[in-house]
């Protein structure tokens, strides 16, 4: 689950996450980021300028709440759900390394993931954390004929319309052939990605079947 932390009440979020962890038998991974839209903050009445500090504090409080201060169900996972943090840039890597279990990349070619992962590892070492950060990647895809693929791209253009010029870039990065998906999966794996989330852009079950075919095939 990925959400914009600073928009939420931390105590409520801790409780919801604990409940989900119970319901899922300890399978919840909670990804927190700052989001990219100013209007989210405006609408929620949350100070956009403090969002980084707010997220840091929220991450710390989640840990402390799960550990004992929280009334209600306790998470199944002994340390609470795993926390992942997204965001590029120095302060984001610092937050990730100081308060979470790993890093969620925002998507893009394997080279972009590799560059971010190297920074995440460096931040982890700099913070004096033992072990290594979990590294998660993500990618958009649409499989099918030209029209279906274009509808997938249109969905991304619509979803990212607020980001203006970037919407087209994100749409252009959409994976549209089985080979492109296979190549990306392999390349992410080579760069040390622990979990890769493949987001469909078309709401149709046969999309998932095509994905299974693409990934199940030889090579």
């Amino acid at each position: 689950m990925i959400l914009i932390g600073p928009l939420r009440s931390t105590a409520l979020l801790a409780k919801q996450a604990a409940s989900l962890d119970v319901l899922s038998g300890g399978r919840l991974v909670l990804g927190l980021g700052l989001g990219a839209r100013h209007d989210d903050y405006r609408t929620a009445g949350v100070d956009h300028r403090r969002r980084g500090r707010d997220l840091a504090q929220q991450l710390v409080r989640l840990r402390l709440l799960w550990e004992g201060e929280l009334p209600g169900p306790r998470p199944v996972q002994p340390d609470g759900p795993r926390l992942l943090v997204g965001g590029l840039g120095g302060p984001a890597y610092v937050r990730m390394a100081r308060y979470s279990d790993g890093f969620v990349h925002n998507g893009g070619p394997p080279r972009a993931f590799a560059a971010a992962a190297a920074r995440a590892r460096a931040a982890w070492i700099d913070a004096g954390r033992p072990g290594r950060p979990q590294l998660w990647g993500q990618a958009y895809w649409a499989l099918g004929d030209g029209a279906e693929v274009e509808r997938g791209r249109d969905e991304l253009r619509r979803y990212y319309a607020f980001a203006r010029g970037h919407a087209e870039q994100i749409a252009a990065g959409c994976l549209t052939t089985p080979q492109a998906i296979k190549d990306l999966v392999r390349a992410y794996e080579d760069e040390g990605c622990d979990e890769l989330v493949l987001f469909p852009t078309r709401p149709a079950l046969e999309q998932l079947e095509r994905l299974a075919d693409a990934l199940g095939g030889p090579g």
Binding site: G52, R53, A56, Q57, L59, V60, R61, R63, L64, G68, D79, G90, P91, Y93, V94, A97, R98, Y99, S100, D101, R111, A112, A118, R119, R121, A122, A123, I125, D126, A127, G128, R129, P130, G131, R132, R164, G165, E168, Q169, A171, A172, G173
Partner: protein
């Protein structure tokens, strides 16, 4: 498609050529304000790698361009009156006028309409074209017109440079470094035809003013600069000026390179400092990528422009990053003027992380062999390869030697067997057989209240010093970052209230909102802590440790005195640097007095808080000098963590630049720490004199 190209430089012309070639049906017009044969800046330079793209994109112009090339493979570094040659740097130069001539002829031959002497006063009249290409250079009117959509930033580089030429062809690319009474003068020179060479002359702003260049006219400035370089030019040879004004390099980048039917290419969209010699190459690669995207996406202009941006922006950003590092190097060069020519040249060659020891060995094995042998001689002769020492004549230089990371380092009577350090977050005893020359422990607390977490070892918990590898206990006091949980789940997570111990710091400021507030350390507390440090040092000595490190970093107790962010005291321990450094110096002095004279003491020091209001660079360097005078022999150079929110840059080798700053400005031995992840990188950092030891971060 009807396409208007604004600007007839290499990017605009080449794009016109490629588009017209792809489909002769395109109506393409190029508008240029100068005459066809007017140009400024003499020659341009290409690296060999960029030529394949030109070959694929348009074989005909590629042939003509490469026929006009002056090629060279070595480069020369003139410094201290000597010339050091490094081979394997395949570059080509061409007269800019000739390059333009070739592209103009090719464009005309294909049916592109070229209009010269056409000053563009407004982009407006061109907007009814299907595509408007802003190829109008660093001062782009197109970019300025659409600034709101493109979000450009233009920043002037602080130094000054001017394009000159020399009236003869240098044999190869040549860097010339001349120390003058006004400061350092640098010339980056390359031949561009059989008779002439480009000379880009670079000086710092203060040098430029001291020399009076700010008040000279063009002829005076030419005569002055020629006199500076006369010995390098040779008797009777002259420099040539052609509107050679002293300017500040403009760093240009744009968040977006297109808006509607308008798109930018080349310098209009981005610049990269001339010291990487990539401007023309990037511009022509833009042209290739833009033409390719338009061909691929035929009718869909928006998709084509997005793809063009997607492809080119990351490539350009990488080059800009390399150029920033390169420019910063040429700006800070005066700090290396004590290096002997071989190491000075090595440092120059490896100024960006793209070229490592191994790359250089492939380019010029003989040069690297000489560097390794000299490094070994300095490391094993006299009292070591200390910063700024040339060690000339002290030891015989061997014919061959291991790479620099495997050279020993001697500090006082202690010899580190190699330059490789490990600094594990926990469990340092697992690294004893790693092969590293030294292992730095995580913080070893001088007292139970000085622990970071209940797992932090105390000096008395340490085992006897292991044989073989040098273990460096990092002795300190956690200060206001104490009483936290082990770092498995995070950093600075406080222990439950019942398990905490009282914290002390320079001032009574909590490290973070969720952390308990410390008490301000009082005089009695200071005495006690000094005693604790001394007792811990005595204990470690008895256990057989031959070096220890005092921790003055990362917001722990001693560092909390040094940084104005954590020290708000109004007594003699707060205020200016001397006062903030008083307590750390007292601790160092007491430990130094206890520690045997013939054994070295290190300090881990944060030289930058990476946060607003933090310690200034000059202060941090002055602190290092004073610590060195008080008996510190080795500095692990760190930054950040003074406060929880900071802005670090975790780029490749990020710790090396900081180490370089301290080592070569303060002339003290250093340990670099920060994303040095391969032995190859480690050899490079050590051989270039950017650190004496490196913390290696493996996987």
């Amino acid at each position: 498609m009807r396409i208007d190209v604004l600007g007839g430089g290499p990017a605009g012309l080449y794009f016109a050529v490629l588009m017209k070639k792809a489909d002769p049906g395109h109506e393409i017009r190029v508008f240029e304000r100068n005459a066809p044969d007017a140009t400024f800046g003499f020659g341009v330079v290409f690296s060999e790698g960029s030529l394949d793209q030109l070959e694929d994109a348009d074989y005909e112009s590629y042939l003509r361009i490469t026929e006009s090339f002056v090629r060279w493979d070595p480069l020369d570094v003139r410094y201290w009156g000597t010339t050091t040659r490094v081979r394997g740097n395949a570059y080509s130069g061409i007269e800019r006028k000739q390059l333009l001539r070739i592209l103009q002829e090719r464009a005309r031959g294909l049916g592109v309409e070229l209009t010269f002497h056409h000053e563009i006063a407004s982009v407006e009249p061109h907007l009814d074209a299907d595509l408007v290409v802003g190829a109008d250079g660093a001062n782009s009117l197109t970019r300025r017109t659409f600034a709101e959509a493109l979000h450009p930033t233009v920043r002037l580089h602080p130094s000054r440079y001017a394009w000159f030429a020399a009236d003869f062809a240098l044999p190869v690319f040549t860097y010339v470094f001349r120390e003058t009474p006004w400061g350092l003068f640098q010339a980056h020179c390359y031949p561009y035809d059989e008779r002439r060479s480009t000379m880009v002359v670079l000086v710092s702003e203060p040098t430029w003013r001291r020399a009076g260049l700010d008040e000279m006219d063009e002829a005076e400035s030419l005569a002055f600069t020629q006199a500076v370089f006369q010995e390098d030019l040779g008797p009777g040879r002259r420099m040539i000026s052609n509107r050679s004004l002293w300017i500040s390099f403009p760093w240009i980048s744009c968040r977006s390179w297109h808006h509607g039917n308008v798109v930018l290419v080349g310098d209009a969209a981005h610049t990269a400092h001339f010291s990487v010699g990539a401007g023309t190459r990037l511009a022509m690669e833009d042209a290739i990528a833009l033409a390719r995207a338009l061909v691929k996406w035929k009718g869909n202009r928006e998709a084509a422009l997005a793809e063009y941006e997607l492809e080119r922006q990351p490539a350009v950003e990488r080059m800009q990053e390399a150029a920033r590092v390169s420019a910063a190097y040429f700006d800070s060069l005066e700090r290396y003027l004590g290096f002997e020519p071989l190491q000075f040249t090595y440092q120059l060659m490896t100024r960006t992380p793209r070229i490592t020891h191994h790359n250089l060995a492939l380019r010029d094995p003989e040069f690297v062999r000489r560097v390794e042998a000299r490094f070994w001689a300095r490391a094993t002769g006299g009292d070591g390869a200390g910063p700024g020492e040339d060690g000339e004549g002290r030891a015989e230089t061997p014919l061959v030697a291991p790479p620099p990371g495997f050279a020993p380092l001697r500090l006082r009577s202690l010899v580190f067997p190699n330059r490789i350090a490990l600094a594990p977050a926990e469990d340092w005893q697992r690294e004893l057989a790693s092969g590293a020359g030294l292992v730095l422990t995580p913080l070893v607390a001088v007292s139970p209240e000085g622990r970071v977490s209940p797992e932090t070892p105390l000096a008395e918990d340490l085992p006897p010093a292991p044989a073989g590898v040098v273990v460096v206990p990092s002795l300190g006091h956690a200060g206001r970052r104490g009483a936290t949980r082990p770092r498995r789940l995070g950093v600075d997570l406080p222990l439950p209230p019942a398990e905490r111990w009282p914290l002390v710091s320079a001032s009574a400021l909590a490290y973070a909102p969720w952390m308990p507030a410390p008490a301000e350390l009082d005089a009695e507390g200071m005495d006690r802590i000094v005693e604790r440090f001394v007792a811990a040092a005595r204990r470690l000595r008895r256990l057989g440790y031959r070096v220890l490190e005092l921790d003055l970093s990362r917001g722990y107790l001693l560092a909390s005195f040094l940084s104005p962010l954590s020290n708000r005291r109004v007594d003699e321990h707060g205020g200016d640097l001397e006062e903030r450094l008083r307590f750390p110096l007292r601790v160092l002095g007491a430990v130094r007095a206890e520690w045997p004279e013939d054994l070295p003491l290190g300090v881990a020091v944060s030289i930058d808080d990476l946060a607003p209001g933090g310690i200034a660079e000059d202060e941090a360097l002055e602190a290092v000098r004073r610590l060195a005078r008080a008996g510190a022999d080795l500095f692990r150079v760190l930054a950040g963590q003074t406060v929880p929110e900071s802005r670090p840059d975790y780029g490749r080798l990020y710790g090396a630049a900081r180490s370089d700053l301290v080592r070569n400005r303060c002339r003290v031995p250093t340990i670099a720490s920060g994303r040095i992840t391969t032995l190859d990188e480690l050899h490079t950092v050590v051989a270039a004199g950017r650190a004496d030891l490196c913390v290696l971060d493996l996987g």
